[in-house]
């Protein structure tokens, strides 16, 4: 139990509760109204999906800055598909958009994995390329609510048992990816790769394949986020999702996923996303103009990585002190030089050999 409370995720959840509590105290409608409750759950849904995907990439000691552009492209694609074929089942459209996202992620992943170049620079480049493709394709056109089926748009606002559908989608994504990361061999290998890429290669882990898979998964989730975006907002311009990569990376590091890879959880990233957007919505309520939102995001990112460093330093000092307390070689209780039981027979055997 103590371990659960000590975890980084618990701290973020606590911060989230504090923000909600304070804001609700200022304006009760923030939580205690039908709309307030819905917004609390619905607003972060898209960012949660993006953050879960990004967390997987960051855990491998990489980053994907192109997710905002992938979201824009797939959201626009969703709208165009409905315009071109209004009778297409929603699930088919969604799958096409997810596949398109996975393909874009795969492009990032292949360049990173095969040319072994920093993901930061590559995805900074594809951020502009993917956005440029959307801009060129869309021009000044826009997808409007009228271009998409009403059932699809309904998904963006509908609730089941008081929980918005998009939030349910985000929760399913979170649980599925979280389960994969914690319980599968592949998931643990992603952590190992991020923890020490050279050692991973030396161990003979399929580093390249895992990286491709992580980037493709992230792209697919960004594609899903694009579909959710179209459903939620009803209009898609060529600029949809611009600058979102900052929020996503912010959510992930605030959620305790170390930017150096190897540690953190997708649940933390999801909580980080909720915290970030809840703070954003809370700012105007407590009287701070929303122009300052970006500054808050920036301060949170820097604060979070600085905090992680402080905690890491404290941990390594503690571990160093533990080394002093229990010197290697002597199991506690065994007097120095004593032969532990069981070692004797082999030694005798050797003496006669």
């Amino acid at each position: 139990m103590r371990n659960v409370l000590r975890r980084r995720e618990a701290g973020i959840a606590l911060a989230l509760l504090v923000v909600i509590g304070v804001t609700t105290a200022v304006q009760p409608g923030f939580l205690l109204s039908a709309g307030g409750w819905r917004d609390l759950l619905l607003t972060p849904a898209i960012l949660v999906v993006l953050a879960v995907g990004q967390a997987v990439v960051v855990i491998t000691r990489n980053v994907d800055l192109s997710v905002g552009s992938v979201l824009g492209l797939t959201a626009y694609l969703t709208g165009r598909l409905f315009m071109a074929a209004p009778d297409l089942p929603i699930i088919v459209v969604a799958l096409v958009a997810v596949a398109a996202g996975a393909l874009l992620g795969l492009i990032n992943g292949s360049i990173v994995a095969f040319a072994r170049v920093p993901a930061l620079v590559i995805t900074l480049g594809t951020l502009y390329v993917y956005r440029g493709v959307t801009l060129t394709w869309a021009g000044s056109d826009r997808i409007d609510a009228g271009d998409m089926p009403r059932t699809f748009l309904g998904l963006g606002t509908r609730q089941v048992l008081g929980i918005p559908v998009l939030t349910i989608v985000a929760a399913i994504v979170l649980v599925a990816v979280g389960y994969y990361m914690y319980t599968s061999r592949g998931g643990r290998q992603l952590y190992a790769i991020g923890s020490d890429p050279d050692a991973a290669a030396l161990q003979g882990l399929p580093v390249r394949r895992r990286l491709l898979w992580a980037f493709a998964l992230n792209g697919a989730l960004a594609g899903l986020a694009g579909v959710m975006f179209a459903a939620r907002y009803g209009t898609v311009s060529s600029g949809a999702g611009t600058g979102m990569e900052l929020q996503v990376v912010g959510a992930v590091v605030v959620g305790g996923v170390a930017i150096f890879g190897g540690s953190g959880t997708v649940a933390g990233a999801a909580l980080g996303a909720m915290l970030l957007l809840t703070i954003n919505r809370a700012l105007p309520v407590v009287g701070i103009p929303d122009f300052w939102q970006r500054a808050v995001v920036g301060a949170l990112i820097i604060g979070a990585i600085a905090l992680d460093r402080v905690l890491a330093n404290r941990r390594s000092r503690r571990l160093a002190a533990a080394r002093d307390a229990a010197p290697p070689g002597a199991p506690p209780g065994a007097p120095p030089g004593s032969v532990p039981p069981g070692a004797g027979p082999d030694d005798r055997e050797e003496a006669t050999a």
Binding site: V63, I111, A115, R116, V117, P118, L120, V121, I122, L124, G125, T126, L127, Y128, V129, R131, G132, V133, L135, T136, L246, V249, G250, V253, I259, F260, P289, F291, W292, Q293, R294, A295, V296, V297, G298, A299, L300, I301, I302, I305, A306, R309
Partner: protein, 331 residues
């Protein structure tokens, strides 16, 4: 022992930088031949005016990337300095004083980045993504969606007017002076040697007594101050101080630096290559614009150029290694 393994002309010509310069010359010739009105004096004037901020920021960025770090917050510092300059002017401060305060503020922004990277040991990528948001957020927060305009004509003209009858703007002189300063700093001082050593092996540099932390701090402060200077120029050039000025310019700067032959892994790079890289992007931009191509396509071109400039040397290097080991295979 011989000082050099190759004759001087090979050392001077067979370099990564000369490749960028060659591409620049070819691009210039092709654009002059194909694009209507490219070669005119007005094009040259606008080319210099347009690339000036990118060129300025690319100079300290070259040194930062040469150490293996990166500063993604530069465009946000441009925005913040533009807003500060505008607000101080609006508040009645003299323009020289406003300029000085803005540049100092930029240096402080850089010092914050530098301290977090060098002394707290945080990854520059993460820190400057954070400060990219933070500094831009401060700029937008301070000025909202409004703009400060109405700067005195003597200053705005100074930012754009030409040297006598020539097509070159007055600022060309300042740019050349700064290029010279950074070239000497990187290529002919112990400091510059340390910068490259840090990029090649920061561990080995430390074991040679190089103060890696202080060096990085200095570089980030330089980057912040020069970005702020570029912000003031940007404001005067367009006569308007806005929070969203130069959004996304960090991409152009990083792309230009990498196109200019600076290794993203640190340890190699030269100022003349970077200047050529900046000009190459500028020439491509103005040629495409004159051809009526939209800014979207230009962004696709820049983004692709960025990816290619990072991937191409790796592929070339990989092929070289493979060829060498193939030779080994035979023996």
């Amino acid at each position: 022992m011989r000082t050099h393994a190759r004759p001087w002309w090979q050392r001077a010509l067979l370099t990564r930088e000369m490749l960028t310069i060659l591409i620049l010359v070819v691009a210039w010739i092709v654009a002059s031949a194909v694009v209507q009105g490219f070669d005119g004096p007005l094009t040259i004037t606008y080319l210099v005016l347009d690339v000036a901020p990118v060129l300025l920021i690319a100079l300290p960025m070259t040194l930062i990337i040469a150490t293996g770090e990166i500063d993604l917050s530069v465009a946000s510092v441009v925005g913040l300095s533009s807003v500060t300059f505008g607000l101080l002017y609006q508040a009645g401060l003299g323009l020289w004083a406003a300029l000085l305060v803005s540049v100092l503020l930029g240096a402080v922004c850089g010092a914050v980045n530098g301290a977090l990277v060098a002394y707290a040991g945080l990854p520059s990528l993460a820190v400057t993504i954070g400060s990219l948001a933070l500094y831009r957020g401060l700029a937008v927060g301070l000025l909202g969606t409004t703009a400060v305009t109405g700067f005195p004509g003597s200053w705005t003209d100074g930012a754009t007017e030409n040297l006598g009858e020539s097509p070159y703007p007055v600022i060309t002189l300042g740019l050349l002076a700064l290029i010279a300063v950074f070239a000497v700093l990187l290529h002919a001082t112990p400091f510059g040697r340390n910068v490259l050593d840090i990029g090649r092996s920061s561990e080995a540099a430390r074991f040679s007594g190089v103060d890696v932390k202080r060096t990085l701090l200095i570089l980030f402060v330089l980057s912040g101050a020069v970005s702020a200077l570029a912000g003031v120029y940007y404001t005067l050039r367009y006569g308007s101080a806005r929070g969203d000025n130069a959004t996304g310019m960090e991409l152009q700067v990083v792309a230009a630096v990498l196109l200019g032959g600076v290794s993203i892994f640190g340890g190699r790079g030269a100022i003349h290559g970077v200047v050529a890289g900046v000009l190459l992007i500028g020439v491509l931009g103005s040629a495409l614009r004159l051809e009526g191509v939209t800014v979207n396509v230009i962004n696709i071109v820049i983004g692709t150029a960025l990816v290619v400039s990072v991937v191409a040397p790796r592929i070339a290097g990989g092929l070289r290694v493979r060829r060498r080991s193939a030779v080994g295979q035979r023996t």
